[in-house]
Symmetry: C2
Subunit: 167 residues, 2 copies
């Protein structure tokens, strides 16, 4: 069901992480579980996928990941600081070595001049290491935006698993 | 990306839940986030999807959902009692009115004579109400089994939202 290039990425991640004994966790808002769903589309993924947090509501972001409510109040749920806090929260609330987090506006509603449909922040955290946060404005419909977000997130995870700072 | 019949189900759930002010949560093992991913494939799902737990490891089932470790030891992660405990854990650890939980063997590995590839337990819990648990042995490859599990789980969620005990 996932496009081939995404399951290819998932298989490359599985190999890279399994070889190094690394575990991954996900914290997803706009993708709603698709990153975890794609990572687990490949056989053997149970050796590298620890858990995933689908934090669709702000309450879920606070309760599951410890994202401070005032951070969301101040910057909005779709923001660089919240993406970073989600990734760090996923590290803190799992045993994963690498955590991916995404928050964005998949549309068709919910956009504004300042934060248009397609705006997505993607964060990748390594336990004890840096957090990389990317900002994208992605084109297309809801499915296009969600799948492009999955692709970019998996690319970051692969780079992190291979020991690179960025993809 | 999801087959049309699954997004149709997700849209029917969205309408049924939004009309009644109901929220849903998911707890997924073998589907790895796909149930939440499908529920959030339709616009407006943010009004009914509270959160999702992707509990791929036994540690995640215990830590995120409070599934007792000895329950898993005694019955195995893929079992009726664990599916039920996952659904009740999702209710307890969310504000959802209805929780879906699935645990199964998507294959191609991991099967046995007693618990073959395709064995899936699907639970649907209502806050303060009963927990319905179904056992299925699904045919096909890993993707087929996961998508059939999503379909059956969504069917249960729709029935629960419409006030029926079973689909």
């Amino acid at each position: 069901m996932f496009p081939q290039h995404l399951t290819d990425l998932a298989e490359m991640i599985r190999q890279a992480y399994a070889t190094r004994g690394l575990w991954i966790a996900t914290a997803e808002s706009c993708t709603g579980g698709l990153i975890a769903g794609c990572l687990t589309a490949v056989a053997g993924s149970s050796a590298i996928v620890d858990r995933g947090f689908v934090t669709y509501t702000n309450e879920a972001k606070a309760q599951m990941l410890g994202v401070p409510a005032d951070l969301i109040d101040q910057h909005g749920a779709v923001s660089h600081p919240v993406a970073e806090a989600m990734a760090l929260g996923a590290i803190a609330h799992s045993r994963a070595d690498v955590a991916l987090a995404v928050t964005g506006i998949a549309g068709p509603g919910g956009g504004s001049a300042e934060k248009p449909v397609g705006l997505v922040y993607i964060a990748c955290a390594r336990r004890g290491g840096a957090v990389l946060v990317e900002r994208h404005v992605l084109a297309g419909d809801r499915t296009d935006i969600r799948l492009a977000t999955v692709e970019r997130a998996l690319t970051l995870a692969l780079a992190a698993g291979n020991g690179n700072a960025a993809a």
